[in-house]
Structure formats: structure tokens, C-alpha cells
Amino acid sequence: MMLEIKNLHARLADGREILKGVDLSVGDGEVHAIMGPNGSGKSTLAAVLAGRDGYEVTEGSVTYRGRDLFAMAADERAREGVFLAFQYPVEIPGVNNMYFLRAALNAQRRHRGEPELDAGQFLRVVRQKLKLLDIADDLLQRAVNVGFSGGEKKRNEVFQMAVLEPRLAILDETDSGLDIDALRVVARGVNGLRTPDRSIVLITHYKRLLDYIEPDHVHVLQDGRIVQSGGKELAAELERRGYGTFGEQPEVAASA
């Protein structure tokens, strides 16, 4: 089992409880979509899994490949293969994208007892992945996310995922802010990374992404709990009926 979340409760520093008993099992090679309206706790779930500061887990457990996820610091989780594609990728001025990614990859390789890649070897790895995501070479030489368009930032996240080859990838609203062409490219990238030993959790507001990345399971997160799970047909149902069915006003999906 890749990921087993049991009765997860988490709150913010100000005491507000956001996750109120999440249960979720993600098997090896599975793609799960977590859908839900704004404020349902989707991004909090991603943040808690990745180990961001500012959240307190008050109850429940998360087991990642048989290990207690919360026993690991954020950087250790990453080196163990947990990847988060950020909803808002962060700018790091003065640090070139390529250098950043090589430092990250080598940190992970060291952790696994593999030899580090020098600049030349790294470049060969990177070249293959660039094609997958339609990324221009010059993006590598620019500072991390600085001056990137919204679409470039999201593509860069998936590109990093392609290079780092995680076991568990959590994509937090990777589709938001993308036009249809960019969405296709990102989806193609993610689809290209589907393997039997890699699991993907897609967090999204809209069904649109799921037209391009077909999930094995769809879950509806609402008010800090998973209120319904099903196959990909659940997404279509949501599209028709809106989240209102589950106690909220319908979202206008067409605005995307």
C-alpha cells in the first residue's frame, strides 16, 4: 500500500480544525482524484502530507509505504519519494532552475545511496524530460519560477516531478490557471509518468483535468471529510449536479 490515511484530524495554528477525520487508501500505481469546493480542506491535506509547518495533526495516522509519515521531516519525506506539485510555486531569485533541480536530485540520490550526477549526466537526464513537457531550454537557465508565467510555473512543477521520479506525487490544483493547451501539455506529462509503482493524488476543483488524466478513483472532500468515493463516473456526476448535492451551492465550472 502506497498511502494509508486513517481518521486524520489537523488544525491550523489558530486552532481552527480543517481536517476532521479523513480516511483514504492509495494503492501502488493508482491515480486518485480528490475534488471539493473551496475551503473543504484539499490544500490542507496536501500540506499536511508534505509536512509544511503551521498545521497540527491532532488525531489519526498516515502510513506511507509501511512507515509512519509523520515520523519524517518534510525534507526526509521528499527524499523518500513524496512529491508535492505546488498550487503556487515559489520564486527563488538568483538560483537557476537547473542548479536547483540538480541539487534536489542529488540530495535524493545521496539518500538512496546512489552516486550523484555531475552537470553533464544531469543534462542528459533533463533533455529527455524537457520534450515530455514542451519546455524550452532557456527555462532551465532562468531563476527558479522568477518571471515565469502561470502556465510555465505549473509545467515546471511537473517537469521537476519528471526529473525527481517520486513514488507518490500529490498535485495540488495543478490545473488551476491553465489554458486548455497548457492543460493538455501538463496532462500529457503526468500521464507519461504513470507507472505501476508510482501513485498520484490529483487535487482539483474541476472535472476538466480529469478529462485528460483519467483517475482510478474519485473522492469528494467536504468540510474536512471524504463524503463520497467512487470511480471516474463520480466526477461526471459532480459536473452535472455540482457540489451542492453534498451540501453546498453549485459551482460554476464553466468559469474556468
Binding site: G54, P93, G94, Y99, F100, A104, L164
Partner: protein, 484 residues
């Protein structure tokens, strides 16, 4: 490339060592008794076998100094210094000037080894000429032969006084007058030794000139004097780096550096400053009160200062450019880090005197712990400086919530055609940035080092390669323990 991977890897090994250069070499000093009066000045001058004119020059400086108040305008705090308590001369005991390394005291050579300056290896591998200053007297100078063939003079200041008195007399004090300021006047009265370089017309110095400073004897203070002249069309790149042993008393370091660039000449002066900053409470660090100034004497002359200031309890330093020649260029690139109780008040002065002169100032201040970091800069455009241009960028980075960053730019424009731009930013190192790096697998320290090196990139890229690597190590070590 902003930071090498090797650097990332050495951070952890360095971080456990504390101040690795904190050791004291056991060498008997030939020291002056503590105190400072005219006799002390005479003692120093006699000890160094100086000519009468230089003694008179020192005495004039001393008399000026006696009348001057200590400057109090800088944003630094420290208990009053008892100038009569220090000893103003200390030299390692040596029989005569060594002709080769074989004649140098083996104890000194071992000190260099600990500092990572194996002269022999450097001589062979690095192609860097090192004028190593141990305490106050230069003990070894390398590559002299090679340089001499090109007519380049690179030697200790004391030697220059003996061998090239006409050059010293012609230039000494012409950029930083004896009575320029309190610390410069003190230096002028009691300076011990330092470096001298002269690059003849049209000669491009084929190697980086480098000097290593080191404070050794207890309470001796260091009053280095550097004089660097690039004659018409000459080019030189000069590196200066310092480490100092651990101390309990505060130690005063008041150096003076004078640069002269003639017509079409170019001087690049790079410093990595790593004086002992004191312990976490600021106890025992070096006071680094330095006057550095360069004059672009001729048309199209260019002087670039690049500094990475990580050490010292207190830094008071404003490497400046007098842009006298038409179309001359001044540059100042600076990274200053203050951690724990360190204080830095540093910046530059760009004085535009000639026509179409231009200057660039890039200052990066990083504050962590309870560090206080002040950028203080002056851009002055004189009436005759038609078409003068300046671009200033001052960025401050805060780590934690107990440190401070201050920016004090002075701009004086007396010519309406001048174009002066000033940009300043202050940012806090963000949790988001750190988390982003950690989510990709980087440790806390590596994440911080990466972000800080990125912040300083525009300055670090101005350093010669071998210095850039050392500078990155220093940044990491200096900020050790400031996050997490």
C-alpha cells in the same frame, strides 16, 4: 552558476567545527610596549629602518590623530577603546629577510598549512602570488621573478619603502590623506606593514595578486597599509582574504587601502573578510575599521570593489571611488552578513568629478540572529561632472525576527545632467521558499545556503572563481544555526 555542489556538501562538515581558524601560533613576538605616543611612532619607524621623510609623515599623522574625535555617526555600538592599552608593533622573530621558503620559520609555515594556504602548493597549482602577512611583517613573497619580468612590482610595503621609495613617496597618502579620518590617521601613524603593487603602463598582470592577513599576537592590533598603482592602460586583479584566531579581547583592525588607476587602467579589488566575529554573545570579536579608497586619476580608468564581509564583531568600511578622469568607472559589489551580535555599517562613496563618469553599486545585506546591518552610501556628482550616471541597488534579507537592516543612502547632485537611480528592497527569507526547497529534498541548511547564495549572486559572480567558492562556504558557515 550560483553555488557549486561541492560547496553544498562542505557545509555540514564545516558547521561542526566552530571557528576552525581559531588557534594561536606559539612564536615569540618582538613587541612594542603597550601605549601610543610620539616615541612609539619613532620606535616603529626605527624598527623598520625607515627614511626620515616617512617618519615625519607618520608623526604628522599622529599629531592629526591626537586632535581628532572618534567618529560616532555609524550605527554601531561598542565600549570605548583604550588606545593606550594596545601594543602597536609586533613582529615574528626572524634573523633576516628569507630568500626562499626554506628560510622561513617552520612554525609559520605550519600556521599557513592550518589556514589552508600551503604556499608551495599554491605556487605550483594555483598560479597565485601570495604576499603572506603574518602578524605585521611579510615573511614570504612568491612569484616575484615572474612578475618582475613584466616590470610588475609586488612586495611588502616595508620592502617597497626600501626598494622603490620614489613610488611610495609619490603616491602614499594621495588618495587617503593622513588626516582623512580617525582610524586612517591612526593607521598612518603606526602602520606596520602591508602590500605594495605597481603595474607599469600597458601591462596586464597575468595572475591574481593575493594577500592573506592574519592577526596573531595578543593585543597587537593590525594596521595594514596597501598601496596599489595601475599605470596607464594596466590591469590588475587583487585578492584579499583574512582569517584570525579566536580571542577573548576585542581586537582593533584599522587598515588603509589606497588604489590609483591612471588613464585606461583597471583595478579589480576583491575581499573575502572572515575576521573572528566573536562568540554567540559577541564576545571577543574583531573590530574592523577600515578605510579603502581608489582614485580613477585618468580618463577611462576603472576601479571595482567586490567584498564579502562575513566576519568581525563590528565592521566599519566604505570602499570608495574618486572618479576624477573623464569617462572613468567605479563599481562596488558587496555582501555583508551579520549573525548573532555582529554589527556592520558598510557601503561606499562614489564621487563623480570628471565628465561622463559612471558608477554602479550593488549591496546585499543579510541579517540573522541579533545582527545589525547598515548600508551607508554616498553618491556625489560634482558641478563639472557633466553626464554622470549612477545605479544603486540595495537589497536586505532578514532571517528571524530579532535582527535589523538599515539603508542610509546619501545623494548629492550638483550637476543637472546627472542620472542617478536608487533601488532598495528589504525582504524576509520566506517560510515558503524554505519549504519549497525542503519539499524537493534539501535539508534546512542546504535550503538556506541555496536561497542566500541566490540572493547574493550578482555580487558573488564578480569574484574570481577560487574566491567565489570560499565565499559561498563562508556564507553558509556564517549563517549556521540561524534557521530551524
Amino acid at each position: 552558476m550560483s553555488a557549486s555542489l561541492e560547496t553544498q556538501q562542505t557545509i555540514r562538515s564545516l558547521s561542526d567545527e566552530g571557528y576552525k581558524y581559531g588557534f594561536v601560533t606559539d612564536i615569540e613576538s618582538d613587541s612594542a610596549p603597550p601605549g601610543l605616543d610620539e616615541d612609539t611612532v619613532r620606535f616603529i619607524s626605527a624598527k623598520k629602518g625607515e627614511p626620515e621623510w616617512l617618519l615625519e609623515w607618520r608623526l604628522a599623522a599622529f599629531r592629526a590623530w591626537r586632535e581628532m574625535p572618534e567618529p560616532e555617526w555609524a550605527k554601531v555600538e561598542f565600549p570605548p577603546i583604550d588606545y593606550q592599552a594596545a601594543s602597536y608593533y609586533s613582529a615574528p622573530r626572524q634573523q633576516a629577510t628569507p630568500k626562499s621558503l626554506d628560510e622561513v620559520d617552520p612554525e609559520l609555515l605550519r600556521t599557513y598549512e592550518k589556514l589552508g594556504i600551503p604556499l608551495r602548493e599554491r605556487e605550483i597549482l594555483a598560479g597565485v602570488a601570495v604576499d603572506a602577512v603574518f602578524d605585521s611583517v611579510s615573511v614570504a613573497t612568491t612569484f616575484k621573478g615572474q612578475l618582475a619580468e613584466l616590470g610588475i612590482i609586488f612586495c611588502s610595503f616595508g620592502e617597497a619603502v626600501k626598494e622603490h621609495p620614489e613610488l611610495v613617496k609619490k603616491y602614499l597618502g594621495t588618495v587617503v590623506p593622513q588626516n582623512d579620518n580617525f582610524y586612517a590617521a591612526l593607521n598612518s601613524a603606526v602602520f606596520s606593514d602591508g602590500s605594495f603593487a605597481y603595474i607599469p603602463p600597458g601591462v596586464r598582470c597575468p595572475m591574481e595578486l593575493s594577500t592573506y592577513f592574519r592577526i596573531n599576537a595578543r593585543n597587537s592590533g593590525q594596521f595594514e597599509r596597501t598601496l596599489l598603482i595601475a599605470d596607464k592602460g594596466a590591469y590588475v586583479s587583487y585578492l584579499e582574504g583574512c582569517t584570525a584566531p579566536q580571542r577573548d579581547e576585542n581586537q582593533l583592525h584599522a587598515a588603509v587601502v589606497e588604489l590609483i588607476a591612471h588613464e585606461d587602467a583597471q583595478i579589480k579589488y576583491s575581499t573575502v573578510q572572515n575576521w573572528y566575529p566573536g562568540d554567540a554573545e559577541g564576545k571577543g570579536g574583531i573590530y574592523n575599521f577600515v578605510t579603502k579608497r581608489g582614485a580613477c586619476r585618468g580618463a577611462r580608468a576603472k576601479i571595482s570593489w567586490t567584498q564579502v564581509e562575513t566576519g568581525s564583531a563590528i565592521t566599519w568600511k566604505y570602499p570608495s571611488c574618486l572618479l576624477e578622469g573623464d569617462d572613468s568607472v567605479g563599481e562596488f559589489y558587496s555582501v555583508a552578513i551579520t549573525n548573532n551580535r555582529q554589527q556592520a555599517d558598510t557601503g561606499t562613496k562614489m564621487i563623480h568629478i570628471g565628465r561622463n563618469t559612471s558608477s554602479t553599486i550593488i549591496s546585499k545585506g543579510i541579517s540573522a540572529g541579533r545582527g545589525q546591518n547598515t548600508y551607508r552610501g554616498l553618491v556625489r556628482v560634482q558641478p563639472r561632472a557633466q553626464g554622470a550616471r549612477n545605479y544603486t541597488q540595495c537589497d536586505s534579507l532578514l532571517i528571524g525576527d530579532r535582527c535589523g537592516a538599515h539603508t542610509v543612502p546619501y545623494i548629492e547632485i550638483r550637476n543637472p545632467s546627472a542620472k542617478v537611480e536608487h533601488e532598495a528592497t528589504t525582504s524576509k527569507i520566506s517560510e515558503d521558499q524554505l519549504f519549497y526547497c525542503r519539499q524537493r529534498g534539501l535539508s534546512d541548511e542546504d535550503a538556506l545556503s541555496l536561497i542566500v547564495n541566490g540572493f547574493c549572486k550578482e555580487v558573488l559572480k564578480e569574484l574570481p572563481m577560487e574566491f567565489a567558492v570560499e565565499a559561498q562556504k563562508l556564507l553558509a558557515v556564517s549563517l549556521e544555526g540561524s534557521v530551524g
